[in-house]
Every structure is written in structure tokens, then in C-alpha cells.
């Protein structure tokens, strides 16, 4: 389980991200952000140390366009 964020946590994170959000905005966002964090916690539980991300950088891609 990820730690549940509070409005204060969210305000601090918004400042750090350069976002100006009202208390109403933060209140509306809070359930979704906490749900997203719980989702990530559940995903952490299914990966093993050797699992690499799906995204792959292909060095030759710069020649495609």
C-alpha cells in the first residue's frame, strides 16, 4: 500500500511542479492521485529486479524522418 497523500502533500507537490492550484482543485484531484499511487504500488508487486521497461531506445531511429 502506498501512503495516502493529504491536501498539504498535494499542495507541496503542485508547487514543486510549477502548478498554481486552488484548494478546490486540489480537493478534486486528491482521490484520483491517491488511486493512481495505489495502482503503481500494485504494479510494483508484480515486477522482478530483472524486468526491464517496455520502452526501448533504438539508436537508428533518428534517421527515420
Amino acid at each position: 500500500m502506498a501512503k495516502e497523500l493529504t491536501i498539504e502533500d498535494l499542495r507541496f507537490m503542485a508547487d514543486r511542479a510549477g502548478l498554481t492550484l486552488s484548494d478546490d482543485d486540489l480537493q478534486r484531484l486528491l482521490p484520483g492521485v491517491n488511486r493512481s499511487r495505489q495502482q503503481v504500488a500494485a504494479l510494483r508487486a508484480i515486477i522482478a529486479p530483472a524486468d526491464e521497461p517496455a520502452g526501448v531506445f533504438i539508436a537508428s531511429d533518428g534517421d527515420r524522418k
Binding site: 510549477g18 484520483g32 493512481s36 503503481v40 510494483r44 508484480i46 517496455a54
Partner: protein, 470 residues
């Protein structure tokens, strides 16, 4: 025009039928175009499926097509067929809004690759279609354009985000349309509007010139009133495009030629356990209709195999995490400069991505690799996955709960995460006359298999023949 064909009948022809009629000279591209424009003018006030109607351009193109037919310069089955585009496909010289105040008057100076391909195939563009703002969130109540309504009952949502594409096809305003799909945005409106839509394999259709929502999950694809029409449209837009970094250099088969192969002996996987009962679970009517559809497939000779649904259920968590992170990354600059130009729904959803970390995003991408492997491992036992397209019929605008999508299973998300091709085909109606969709997903680049199963089901059932009363 032949006296046996009335205007409304013209509007509800399939592309295959309309194309055959054009070749028989039962009617001309001008007749088809005028019939659609007339119907849009008369009825779209109730549905708001179009944002921009390109009537004069369409008439000019229709006359050109008519001349080409007269001089025997026929281009193929889409020649002279009126179509429309979700308003996130860039169109040179035609406003492309993404249903948002942010791009309300934006006129791109080039065409998306898929748009160019449809143009080369001889289609006639009728206009640009409404959608969920930036293909995200839900119906927009505070966007500069009204929310699209469901032709089966305008009090209900049409599903999204390709809502205008679904509604316009069900209403008989066009013969084919393009949508885009990041978490179900082609398949859900197809199910809710009683039409057919296919999300091809990731990389099969170029997204160059399609305004992104989430680069690693976005797919472009066709929507139509029949499986065969989806095959014809997919044929025209599929293929490698060096301008799309995710485009796959894979041979494109003849999708139409493989439609009639049947499903005898085909192994149909149903990942029910651990997925259908997630949270509130599948709506009872939807599951009953789905089980009846499985019986139809069984009677056609398919073998039904029950599978573990747990990895499919977990896939939604990875899909949503990746989606909000990539969406925020794409919109961050514009959002910081003009936050109030975004509608309230999309603003809330996009901002979720601002509060996740780089490590969270990479965790989701690592989980994607794991889930992809687990889900694809099932192809040793089955040839396709079959599930309902949506967990419940379309709700009313009034009763819409923004958290609803998280309370029931998402049957569409896993196929964005894995990039597998997936099609939705009508499979029944609720007692309130609202459509329900059946989703069929196949191995990577086996759109032909998904189309073949959908075609067999469609031809064995009457659902695709029903029309809404407008």
C-alpha cells in the same frame, strides 16, 4: 439515381454495398454525398456528432469522383464514398480542434498520413467529428462544442473518446470514419452506438498527424457499420510510415479476402475468472448477452476455453499510469500557460500525471513487459480472446459517475497495453434498446483473424441490421 433507392436507404448502405451500387451506376458519388449532407443538416442538431462540416469541399470532391467514374478511372472500393474524421486527425486547411478551446481555431498545414491515404483511395471528406476533449476524460460539458449524444437515445452517452465517429455512423451520416484508441476509444463508442470498430495492432496504422494522448498507447483505426467495411478502411490506411516512430514494417495482408474463412475449430479464450468480477463486476444484462454470443460462436464451431483473467485485470493499472504520465508530459507546457482553456474533466485527469514520479512511470512500463508476456502466453492455448467490449450499457448523461470507469473492469485497456488488435461488433440490445458490443482480440498483426471471427458472428446474427429511430 435509381427510383428504388430512397435517401435514407442510401445513407444506411454499407461501404461494400454503396461501392457496388456506384459501379452499377445505381447512383453517383454526388448522390451519396448529398444524401449524407441532407441527413446531417436535418438530424445532427439532436446529436452534435459534427464539429465542422466541409460541405462545399465534399461536393467538389464528389463531382470529381463522378467524372473519374465516367472516364473509368476507378480507384478501388472506397472511391466516391463519403467519410468523416475524429477531430484530432490533422487536415490541411481544415480546422482541427480536438474538441477543445485550446485548439478551437487551429488549422494545420499538413494532413495526417491516414487522411492522405483515404484521400488517395478516393473517399469524400464530409467533415470533422466531435470527441472527448483531447481524447481524454469523458463528455465535455464546458468545451466550446456540445457533447455528442447517442443516436439510440440522446439522453445516453455515446461512449468515447471517438464519440462523434460512433454517433455519426449509427445515425447514417457517413459510411466510414476514423477514430483513435488509447484505452478503448474506438471500441467503446462502437459498442455503445451499435457499430463496428477495430483497434489494429500497435504499429499497423500510422499515427503521424494524429494529435497524441499517450504515445506508447495511442492507436489509429477505422469505424464503420459492418465488419467488411472496417476491413476495407483498414486496408486503405494500414502500412509502414517512416514518419511514425512506432510504425511497423510488416506486410499488410488482404483483409477482405480472409473474412469468410469461418471459425470452425478456432479456440476462443474467455479470461473470465479474476476479471469479470473486479469491483462492481460486469453488469448482469451485459454478461447475459455476452454468454449468448459465446453460444453463437460455439454453434459456429468454435471451442470455448476459460482462462485466468487476473493479468488482464492488472493491465488497466499499468495502462492508466502510463496514460496519465504521457498525457501530462504532452500537455504540460500548454497547461501551464493556459490552464483555463482546458475543460474541467480533462484538466482533472491530465493533472493526475503531474503527481506521479518518473519511477512510477517506469514501474508501469516494467509491469507492461511482465503483463504483456503473461497475456500473450495464453496464445499457446487459444487463438483469440473474447470479452464484452464495455462492462455496462451506456449510462445517461444525468447519471454519469466520473469514477464509474474505475469501479468496473476495463475490457479494452489490456489490448492497448499489449498492442494486440481488437475489434468490437454489435452482439445484442438491452431491454431499453441500447446496444451491447462483443470484443475479439487476436495475436499481433493478426487483424485478419479478429475480423474473420467478428464477420462470422455478424453474419450469424441480426444485430447489425438494427437502426436507431431519430
Amino acid at each position: 439515381m435509381s427510383t428504388v433507392v430512397k435517401s435514407n436507404e442510401l445513407c444506411y448502405l454499407t461501404i461494400a454495398e454503396a461501392s457496388a451500387g456506384l459501379r452499377r451506376k445505381d447512383y453517383s458519388p454526388v448522390d451519396l454525398t448529398e444524401a449524407c449532407l441532407k441527413r446531417i443538416a436535418a438530424l445532427d442538431g439532436k446529436l452534435h456528432s459534427f464539429i465542422t462540416i466541409t460541405a462545399e469541399r465534399a461536393r467538389t470532391r464528389a463531382r470529381q469522383a463522378e467524372q473519374e467514374f465516367a472516364s473509368r478511372k476507378e480507384r478501388g472500393p472506397l472511391h466516391g464514398i463519403p467519410i468523416a474524421l475524429k477531430d484530432l486527425y490533422m487536415t490541411k486547411g481544415i480546422r482541427t480542434t480536438c474538441h477543445s478551446a485550446v485548439l478551437e481555431n487551429w488549422v494545420p498545414d499538413y494532413d495526417a498520413t491516414a487522411v492522405l491515404k483515404l484521400e488517395e483511395a478516393g473517399t469524400i471528406l464530409l467533415g470533422k467529428l466531435g470527441m472527448h476533449e483531447f481524447a481524454f476524460g469523458g463528455p465535455s460539458v464546458d468545451a466550446p462544442f456540445p457533447a455528442v449524444r447517442n443516436p439510440w437515445n440522446p439522453a445516453h452517452i455515446p461512449g468515447g473518446s471517438s464519440s462523434g465517429s460512433g454517433a455519426a455512423l449509427a445515425a447514417g451520416f457517413c459510411y466510414g470514419a476514423l477514430g483513435s484508441d488509447t484505452g478503448g476509444s474506438i471500441r467503446t463508442p462502437s459498442a455503445h452506438c451499435g457499430i463496428v470498430g477495430i483497434k489494429p495492432t500497435y504499429g499497423r496504422v500510422s499515427r503521424y498527424g494524429v494529435v497524441p494522448l499517450s504515445w506508447s498507447l495511442d492507436h489509429a483505426g477505422p469505424m464503420a457499420r459492418s465488419v467488411e467495411d472496417c476491413a476495407l478502411l483498414l486496408q486503405a490506411i494500414a502500412g509502414y510510415d517512416a514518419k511514425d516512430g512506432a510504425s511497423a514494417n510488416v506486410e499488410v495482408p488482404d483483409f477482405q479476402a480472409e473474412l469468410r474463412g469461418g471459425v470452425k475449430g478456432l479456440r476462443v479464450g474467455v479470461p473470465r475468472a479474476g476479471w469479470f468480477d473486479e469491483n462492481l463486476g460486469v453488469d448482469a444484462t451485459t454478461e447475459t448477452i455476452f454468454n449468448q454470443a459465446l453460444e453463437v460462436l460455439k454453434n459456429l464451431g468454435a471451442l470455448i476455453v476459460e482462462l485466468d483473467g487476473k493479468p488482464f485485470s492488472t493491465a488497466r493499472k499499468a495502462n492508466q499510469t502510463i496514460l496519465v504520465c504521457e498525457a501530462y508530459a504532452y500537455h504540460e507546457k500548454t497547461y501551464q500557460e493556459t490552464p483555463m482553456k482546458f475543460g474541467s474533466t480533462v484538466r482533472r485527469r491530465i493533472l493526475e500525471g503531474a503527481f506521479l514520479s518518473a519511477a512510477d512511470y517506469l514501474t508501469a512500463q516494467r509491469a507492461r513487459s511482465v503483463l504483456n508476456e503473461q497475456i500473450r502466453a495464453n496464445f499457446h492455448r487459444v487463438d483469440v480472446f473474447v470479452v464484452p467490449t464495455a462492462p455496462r450499457p451506456p449510462e445517461t448523461f444525468e447519471g454519469m459517475d466520473p469514477n464509474e470507469q474505475n469501479l468496473r473492469p476495463s475490457f479494452t485497456n489490456p489490448f492497448n497495453l499489449t498492442g494486440l488488435p481488437a475489434i468490437s461488433v454489435p452482439c445484442g440490445f438491452t431491454p431499453d434498446n441500447l446496444p451491447v458490443g462483443l470484443q475479439i482480440a487476436a495475436r499481433p498483426f493478426e487483424e485478419s483473424t479478429a475480423l474473420r471471427v467478428a464477420y462470422s458472428y455478424e453474419q450469424a446474427t441480426p444485430w447489425h441490421e438494427r437502426r436507431p429511430e431519430l
